[in-house]
């Protein structure tokens, strides 16, 4: 395959010399060298992205380790779970883990459901204020979220919602990005489906729920994965709207203790607990995640 292409290249460039055979040989050697160079580069980069996580896992399973020093034994002897025992019995990690799971699940569910609803209205509905609201939403999507962090806290503190799940979930309960994504999906479904159902006596909710929603499952999966990961990894907003340690999400909780610089084994055990949920979701739903990113170029 490769040599055939190389031959074609030689021929088409009109340089079929008498030393054709040696040219082909040196080309093959050159290609092999280039290939080896490419592979070693790609492997080195992969080692840099995967290596730190391997070391993280290894250190978390090591007995009584204060610092991470090189050279390191990747498989500790003995392998111990005592760091995880300490983590769950002596720190708030378990509470944070529960907070994160609860907040991310409700946020994801809410965001996906409201996106399919609003997307339906914007794709099919004719109502007053439609284009105005649509333009406003587009404007928000373009806005840098960090600029609003202070006034969002001000509003939540006036509503006495600081340190509540409502504050952590609230802004995630609707997704403008998701609304646009779903609207695109509805626009790809012929209106004949709606019309046929309406002729049969269905109302808008029945059309939405029974006719159109089943056709949106792949897009909903994509959005759900993006939202869950986005919420799990969110840092600034949950940091600002919680101040009590028992209301922190895992990401924020780990972030606030990271610099206390205690036992490396305990720190890495916390890191592993923060790492595994998104890692498993990535393994399970890699297809949806990558599809979502390459389709839209956006996360969450």
């Amino acid at each position: 395959m490769e040599t055939a292409r190389a031959r074609g290249r030689l021929r088409s460039s009109g340089k079929a010399r008498p030393e054709w055979r040696t040219a082909r040989l040196s080309l093959r050697v050159g290609q092999a060298l280039e290939r080896a160079a490419v592979y070693s580069f790609l492997l080195a980069v992969a080692a840099s992205t995967v290596g730190p996580f391997l070391i993280m896992v290894s250190v978390s399973l090591t007995h009584n380790i204060r610092f991470i020093t090189f050279p390191i034994k990747l498989i500790p002897n003995p392998v111990t779970l005592e760091n995880f025992q300490t983590l769950f019995s002596k720190t708030m990690a378990l509470r944070w883990l529960w907070n994160s799971f609860f907040v991310a699940s409700v946020s994801t569910l809410g965001g996906v459901v409201t996106s399919t609803m609003a997307g339906y209205a914007f794709a099919r509905g004719q109502f007053w204020g439609r284009s105005l609201i649509f333009t406003l939403f587009l404007g928000i999507l373009m806005m840098p979220s960090t600029a609003l962090i202070v006034p969002q806290f001000v509003v939540l503190s006036r509503l006495h919602l600081v340190n509540t799940y409502a504050a952590l979930i609230g802004p995630w309960f609707a997704s403008i990005f998701g609304t646009f994504l779903m609207r695109q999906q509805y626009l790809g479904i012929p209106r004949d489906y709606d019309d046929a159902a309406i002729v049969d006596g269905a109302n808008l909710w029945q059309v939405y729920y029974k006719v159109l929603l089943p056709q949106l499952k792949p897009a909903m999966a994509t959005l759900a994965v993006l939202r869950f990961m986005g919420n799990w990894n969110d840092f600034l907003y949950p940091l600002v709207v919680t101040s009590k340690a028992n209301m922190r999400t895992l990401t924020v909780g780990l972030g606030t203790v990271a610099r206390s610089g205690g036992d490396a084994g305990l720190d890495m055990a916390g890191a592993v607990v923060g790492f595994l949920p998104t890692f498993f979701l990535f393994l399970l739903a890699q297809r949806y995640l990558i599809q979502g990113i390459t389709l839209t170029g956006l996360k969450g």
Binding site: V45, M143, I293
Partner: protein, 301 residues
């Protein structure tokens, strides 16, 4: 007669509109509570001096004038732009280079892609927990040990005034290049293969092929990546909060960290709102300029 038909049309329109509002109701509520009202209150408190609790004083344009006098804000702005400069071009270039390499038909390409994407799906706290240890100034810490193998003396990384910000920018590259690689790949796969065949016939090969076919045709992708990564860089916060706390000696205090500090550590909500408005305007201006200069969203062929 005319009034009656107008009224009838109004009622008909109202009747056809009403069933749609429940579908967007929750979106509207979330928008009002978390965007619209905060916008109004940001403008409002930017004219006040308040800690939200004990005192509230109208100061007119005081906070806006203070923007020009606050020395630390100048430091924060220059740190933010420096960070963007140290982060955006290397990240865009490196992720493109990697994307071109993994776009070939090579064995295990999808495994490489997944491996490169791994840091991107991991939370910033986990990354910082790991790299606080890796970038420790100890000579036997991982980063310094590996540099030692190359004959480079131990570095102080995050505890050094000169190295802290570049270290964070490099960490940002490490964390996000996999994401931009995916975007580049989508762009690369959108280039029709006939164009490569045509260039091959014309005698182009190797990197010249990329120079004359790939790179010009990737301009829309490049525009997107530069805009998105710049917006991200100007809002960097997590790694700074967790790893350096803005230090040493304000060397890594960026605008968003400064906003956070002013509001949530010093209780100056008025002034921090004013800086938030400034940040918003800066990002708006840069996005607009980049979009215009790079002709964002335009098709090339």
């Amino acid at each position: 007669m005319g009034v009656a038909s107008q009224r009838r049309r109004f009622l008909r329109k109202l009747k056809s509109s009403l069933p749609w509002y429940p579908f967007i109701f929750i979106n509207i509520v979330v928008f009002v509570v978390f965007n619209f009202v905060p916008w109004i209150s940001m403008l409002q408190i930017s004219f006040q001096e308040t800690d939200l609790l004990s005192f509230r004083k109208f100061v007119g344009l005081g906070n806006y004038l203070a923007l020009f006098q606050d020395k630390l804000l100048g430091v924060a702005l220059s740190n933010t732009f420096l960070y963007a400069l140290m982060y955006v071009p290397p990240t865009a270039a490196f992720s493109l280079f990697v994307a071109i390499l993994v776009n070939r038909k090579i064995f295990g390409a999808h495994i490489f892609r997944a491996a490169y994407f791994l840091p991107n799906i991991t939370s910033i706290s986990v990354i910082c927990l790991v790299f606080l240890r890796f970038l420790s100034p100890r000579p036997d810490a991982p980063a310094n040990y590996l540099l030692g193998l190359l004959g480079i003396p131990p570095q102080r990384f995050l505890v050094s005034v000169e190295q802290a910000l570049p270290s964070l920018a490099r960490l940002g590259l490490w964390e996000s290049f996999g994401y931009y690689m995916l975007i580049w790949l989508a762009g690369l796969q959108g280039i029709p293969s006939e164009l490569y065949d045509a260039a091959l016939v014309d005698g182009a090969s190797g990197w010249r092929l990329h120079r004359y076919v790939t790179i010009p045709l990737l301009r829309p992708t490049a525009a997107f990546i530069l805009v998105v990564s710049t917006i991200g860089a100007l809002q960097v916060f997590g790694s700074i909060y967790i790893m350096t706390g803005g230090g040493p000696v304000y060397a890594t205090t960026t605008v968003v960290y400064y906003i956070y500090q002013q509001a949530f550590i010093l209780g100056k909500f008025g002034f921090s709102s004013t800086i938030s408005i400034l940040l918003f305007l800066i990002i708006l201006a840069i996005t607009y300029l980049q979009g215009r200069y790079l002709r964002f969203g335009e098709e090339v062929y």
